[in-house]
Amino acid sequence: MQDAREALMVQRRSDGTVTRRPLSPHLQVYRPQITSVLSVLHRATGIALAAGTLLLVAWLVAAASSPAAYRGVAGFVGSPFGLLLLFGWSVALIYHLLNGIRHLAWDVGLGFEKGEYRRSGRAVVIGTGALTVVVWLVGLIAW
């Protein structure tokens, strides 16, 4: 027994054999809905963005070090794999930002009606797509 709570998880059948009690239904049992999927995505993009800060740190350290180091980082970011990472990072950041604003609205008690949180969820998805396209169009034109 790893945990004292394990004691609540075992029971005896009427014939005396020991068995585990059933757990409450978990994630895979429920039909995915926009609310649950966006919630999972918020956490997933948060974790991805944590990994993405390595890129931010590499960029700042290189800028403060030498032109050669900066060329190295810029070359990596400009490579096909680097651009893929940068694209994923931009989508994750824009999604986490927009859905984060949705969370902040909930924190002050706004948008809890059934229709409202579905609408705000759709708005976040559409906004993420639109803003990502705009950012990359402007970025590629500027580059």
Binding site: D3, A50, L60, A63, L97
Partner: protein, 133 residues
């Protein structure tokens, strides 16, 4: 229980529990508040940063260093780095506490995360300061 103005107090918490403000987790609401405040700060900072890196696309080291060395940009970069890594540490802490249930591995994961976050944040801060000073 009745408040001073005569209204009934609609809470299950004892007056002492309310004054202490620590809640059921015994650590208060500091974590929750810090996560929200850093989130709020990161809304304009992230938008500014996205705009800035678009403007810096294809720039060489001299141009990037010149941009980051400007006082306004350096101040905003320092704010961005502090808010980002604080927010990130708070978020990763919640994820670890949700999924790692055995105490030794949870403590190890929390300490490792905090250490890595601190090292990354310091590397970023020192770099910005080197460019700005």
């Amino acid at each position: 229980m009745v408040a001073k103005n005569g209204d009934p107090i609609r809470t299950m918490r004892s007056p002492l529990g309310r004054v202490r403000g620590l809640g059921a987790a015994r650590s208060g609401v500091a974590h929750w508040w810090a996560q929200r405040l850093t989130a709020l700060a990161l809304v304009p900072l992230s938008l500014w940063f996205i705009g800035s890196i678009i403007a810096l696309a294809g720039a060489d080291q001299a141009a990037a260093a010149h941009w980051a060395g400007h006082t306004v940009n350096a101040v905003l970069l320092l704010c961005l780095v502090l808010a980002t890594f604080y927010h990130m540490q708070l978020g990763l802490q919640v994820v670890i506490e949700d999924y790692i249930h055995t105490e030794p591995s949870r403590l190890a994961a929390l300490l490792a995360t905090k250490s890595v976050v601190m090292l990354l944040a310091l590397a970023a801060l020192i770099s910005v300061l080197r460019l700005a000073l």
